[in-house]
């Protein structure tokens, strides 16, 4: 009976730890909702900080919301321009060179693991080197570096699943490698490309450490790339460190806005990811059909030989 006892004991522990993880997510969201919702108002979402905002006077965090969107959109766009060709190149030109591919994937995974504060410090060095001041541009460059490996690996994971037959069929019809890449391959994987982009966008908008030194902070909405800009994570951080309760409350509201944006992105990417499954299924059924076809030909042939005898 001790066997059963031990199993039950561990089973209870397992259920406890699973619920601990579930509970912590609920706790985080409920806490932010309780603290943030009463403070959140239309004024907060639609106005930039007015005079005396940081002493509890009127205004909102529109500067941070718009700044964050500018920053992540810019960075995601730049990263996309680099990540898409790289992942296509890996999966079409290098598809036969498994060893090289593995090394590249390994390096990308390492890059993914580098903490964002290191990117921040590195971005700051580049910024000084190029002679630009803390600005939207410097932030975009840093965040781009930060999300490139994430985006490439996310795309690559799905590109890997596209059957080799598709590429070979395209080659056999006489199309060049780049034609295959952009006209045939890309069409099959568009939903997952969207998922990868959304995933990177979520990363870009939520990260604070990498932009701490590079984007600066301002109360205005930036009008050019060379101006500093406010961002949501930093808005949360700075307002929370204020000693005035009203300003602290606004930090909770800003955190709520940030979480809502992240949740929307997460739901969107889930929708697109599910769409891709349908497509994958189609590819799979197509291949299966082809095999059935081959099988039929072969069986007909066997039948034919039998009859001949």
């Amino acid at each position: 009976m001790t066997k059963k006892l031990e199993e039950n004991f561990f089973k209870i522990l397992m259920i406890l730890s699973t619920s601990a993880i579930l509970f912590s997510l609920v706790l985080i969201i409920v806490t932010i909702l309780i603290k943030g919702l009463p403070v959140l108002s239309v004024e907060m979402l639609t106005k930039v900080p007015q005079g005396g905002y940081y002493f509890g006077k009127g205004g909102g965090i529109l500067n941070a919301i718009v700044g964050s969107l500018y920053l992540s959109t810019g960075a995601t766009f730049l990263a996309f321009l680099i990540a898409l060709p790289v992942s296509l190149f890996m999966n079409i030109y290098l598809i036969k060179k498994k060893r090289l591919l593995n090394i590249i994937r390994y390096l990308l995974d390492l890059l993914w693991g580098v903490p964002s504060i290191v990117y921040g410090a590195f971005g700051f060095t580049i910024m000084i080197y190029l002679g630009i001041r803390t600005s939207l541009l410097a932030g975009i460059i840093t965040v781009t570096l930060f999300i490139i490996p994430i985006m490439i690996r996310a795309m690559d994971e799905v590109f890997k699943t596209v059957p080799l037959g598709l590429i070979e069929a395209s080659f056999s019809l006489g199309s060049t490698k780049s034609e295959t890449a952009f006209k045939v391959f890309l069409k099959q994987v568009i939903p997952s490309v969207v998922t990868a982009v959304l995933l990177s966008f979520g990363r870009a908008i939520g990260d604070a450490a990498s932009i701490l030194f590079t984007t600066g902070y301002t109360d205005h909405i930036p009008t050019s790339l060379l101006e500093p800009t406010a961002t949501l994570p930093l808005a949360v951080f700075f307002q929370l460190s204020s000693p005035i309760p009203e300003v602290q409350n606004r930090a909770y509201a800003s955190a709520l806005v940030l979480i809502i944006i992240i949740l929307i992105i997460s739901i969107l990417s889930r929708i697109f990811a599910n769409r891709n499954k349908l497509k994958k299924l189609n590819i799979k059924t197509a291949i299966n059909k082809r095999f059935v076809y081959y099988k039929n030909i072969r069986q007909n042939y066997i039948q034919y030989r039998k009859n001949k005898r």
Binding site: G113, F122, G206
Partner: protein, 279 residues
């Protein structure tokens, strides 16, 4: 396309070289051992001892891993071996959302929930603290890295071939014995590497830890003391010290140490995972 690939591949090299060049000023004036093991941090007097920061980082990371590794392992076993399929399907988005929550939000929750909690329980251990402590940082971190570790573990557990389980069960072992003696043994490289990746994640995490850990540049004596991990050091002091080249260089050195440690753990764990036979 090739140009893009080469560009991306040179990024880690560029980061390493850039940080090294920036911190070389510090190497010219101090020995490496002196930097790493000296306990005095007075940048304005030209004393750069990184020991308190490194120790704080190690403490925070270690405690975070000690909390989250068993929890993740147990719930990975539960989700893949005991729970119904739909529950695992339900947990996947939960884990993803938990992984996607920005670190600042974790920091806010840490300040709101965990810091007061610690300051309440500290007297039970005979300590007085404001709550901003190593332990608070570690608890926040352990929640942050758990989705990361859990995802890897679930992926590994799912890939164990069924024959292995069936063979063990048919020999008369109970389900728990199968898990304990067969499955865990089989995937132990995977468990180790997931923990290693968790460590590297925890070591580099900045904002959430920075907000709850207290930031006092002294060697901590217990988990209830405030600490000052490396990432927090960089984040807190940047921008102020541009006027002093040596200070600037010292912070770049901190970034370099961080980069090195994280790369080391990443490389080790990714090499260990290749030892897994189930792939």
């Amino acid at each position: 396309m090739l140009a893009c690939l080469i560009l991306v591949m040179t990024i880690p090299l560029l980061i390493g070289i850039g940080l090294f060049l920036k911190s070389s000023l510090l190497f010219d004036n101090y020995s490496l051992a002196n930097l790493l093991f000296s306990k005095i941090w007075k940048p304005l007097d030209g004393k750069f001892g990184f020991y308190p920061f490194i120790i704080s980082s190690v403490w925070v990371t270690l405690i975070a891993i000690l909390i989250s590794a068993p929890i993740c392992l147990l719930s990975a076993i539960y989700l893949t071996q005991y729970a119904k399929k739909y529950f695992l399907k339900f947990m996947h988005p939960v884990i993803d959302i938990l992984a996607g929550i920005p670190s600042v939000v974790y920091g806010v929750c840490g300040v709101l929930i965990i810091v007061p909690f610690i300051s309440n329980i500290a007297p039970a251990f005979g300590k007085q603290t404001s709550g901003y402590s190593i332990l608070a940082g570690a608890i926040v971190l352990s929640i942050m890295i758990s989705p990361f570790i859990l995802n890897i573990l679930i992926e590994i557990f799912k890939n164990i071939p069924d024959e292995l389980k069936e063979a063990s069960l048919s020999l008369g072992a109970t389900k728990w014995e199968t898990i304990k003696f067969v499955l865990i043994k089989k995937i132990s490289p995977g468990i180790i590497s997931s923990i290693g990746l968790g460590i590297s994640r925890a070591f580099g995490e900045t904002m959430a830890v920075l907000m709850v850990v207290g930031n006092v540049a002294k060697v901590p004596n217990s988990a209830f003391d405030p600490g000052y991990p490396l990432p927090a050091l960089i984040a807190n002091n940047y921008g102020e010290m541009l006027s002093i080249p040596m200070y600037d260089s010292a912070l770049m050195f901190a970034a370099l140490v961080l980069f090195g440690v994280v790369l080391f753990f990443n490389i080790i764990s990714r090499l260990t995972i290749t030892k897994l036979e189930i792939y």
